[in-house]
Amino acid sequence: MTAAGIKLHPACRVRQEEFGLLFYDSRGPSLLFAETGRLLDPDYFDRVRGRGEFPAGLSAQQKQALQNFISTLLERGFLREQ
């Protein structure tokens, strides 16, 4: 059995801002401001990713923070599992 992947919901978009990532959900519409700085590029969400698949070179602490962040995005509907 393969682990579920995650992807940006089709109704959502994301872009880089100075503070980090800005997520937009056209269904609300609603916004999510994520103070991620340059930790994660918006392109990361362009394709299906494994739950623990992050860019190389991150510390364990950064990876944990991103795991929590991904969980929040899933809960809020910006990402979906597939």
Binding site: P10, Q16, E17, L22, S26, F33
Partner: protein, 347 residues
């Protein structure tokens, strides 16, 4: 919503209103832009397509098309196709009269469009008193057509004194049709200014509507009623004016404004025939002033954190004072009702 990030300024709007034409086949009494004939020198097809490319490049997530009646523009489907080819989300505000099965079928091929059909009363007579003869049936036909498609569709109703008592019936009608209900605020611009006193909801109607919204959290308002937001709806949308911070408006001739209700020379932020959208968004003095706008007269109000002074456009149109605080905010409505009651008791 994090006001801290919004007030610091975003690299581009998250969405914007683009009034693609002033041409309209209706003469609605509340029309915000007095639409009728097309404006002189509206953006050409090439200019419109160039704007789509710029907005995509700038990272704008969604374009909300209005007018006028957008489908009056012969190249409107081409403009939409250019947005969708770039993955940009779109929403069309239409009176529904020009929606054909062919157009709906064509639009159904993309998952990037939502449509709002204007309907200003659950009763035919209420709607047509505002929008004109034949508009009710035309809107219902369009809504039925859209409801059979995969396109997310809503009824868009402008709250007025005439239809305030029909909002619940409109919600039921939307449910019967299989669409959602969106309610917009009536503002005194365009023909709406000419008919303001007659059509404006009373303070009692606005207070009742605020309470109704609190009980019906699935109703969308396009954030146009944040001045009336109850505690129950806090967190569902904006708690401040998003003009020039999260959104803005492009007019039919390429002029850019903070919002659709402030389309006048005084509030022109720039012209796309002279500057790129990015240059206007980043450098316009009007936009800079809106980003720094603080409604100090409202800061002591108990509801300040919920609306931050409300809609500057309404304050401007009614008091000629952009910083004057929204004259129709929930606090002022409640105060006004209490004052009227006290006066009545004393008499």
């Amino acid at each position: 919503m994090s006001n801290r990030f919004v007030e610091a300024g975003l690299s581009s709007p998250v969405n914007l209103t683009w009034e693609v034409t002033l041409a309209c086949n209706l003469r609605c009494r509340h029309c915000l832009s007095s639409s009728a004939e097309p404006a002189v020198d509206e953006l050409s097809t090439a200019e419109a397509l160039e704007l789509v490319a710029q907005l995509h490049q700038d990272g704008v997530f969604q374009i909300n098309f209005g007018g006028g009646e957008p489908f009056m523009r012969p190249d409107f489907m081409q403009i939409l196709a250019a947005c969708h080819a770039r993955g940009m989300m779109t929403c069309i505000s239409t009176n529904g009269t020009l929606l054909t099965p062919e157009r709906v079928e064509q639009l159904s091929r993309t998952r990037l469009v939502a449509i709002q059909v204007s309907l200003d009363g659950a009763q035919k007579s209420t709607c047509e008193a505002i929008r004109g003869q034949g508009t009710y049936d035309a809107a219902i036909n369009a809504l039925e057509l859209l409801a059979r498609s995969p396109i997310p569709t809503s009824i868009n109703t402008v709250l007025t004194a005439d239809n305030a008592d029909e909002i619940h019936a409109l919600q039921q009608l939307a449910g019967q049709l299989g669409v959602t209900l969106r309610i917009s605020r009536f503002r005194p611009s365009g023909r709406g200014a000419d008919n303001w006193e007659e059509l404006r909801p009373s303070p009692a109607q606005l207070v009742a509507f605020s309470a109704w919204l609190a009980d019906n959290q699935n109703i969308r308002t396009g954030d146009s009623f944040f001045s009336l937001t109850s505690r129950e709806r806090q967190g569902l949308g904006l708690n401040l004016c998003g003009a020039a911070k999260l959104t803005c408006c492009v007019g039919p001739t390429g002029k850019v404004y903070p919002c659709a209700f402030l389309q006048s020379d005084r509030f022109t932020a720039g012209n796309l025939r002279q500057n790129s959208f990015k240059e206007i968004w980043d450098n316009s003095e009007i936009f800079t002033s809106f980003r720094g706008l603080r409604i100090h007269s409202c800061e002591d109000c108990q509801r300040f954190d919920q609306c931050h002074g409300g809609c500057p456009a309404v304050a401007y149109h009614l008091k000629d004072d952009i910083e004057g605080g929204d004259p129709e905010c929930l606090e002022r409505c409640v105060t006004s009702i209490a004052a009227a009651n006290a006066k009545e008791s004393a008499a």
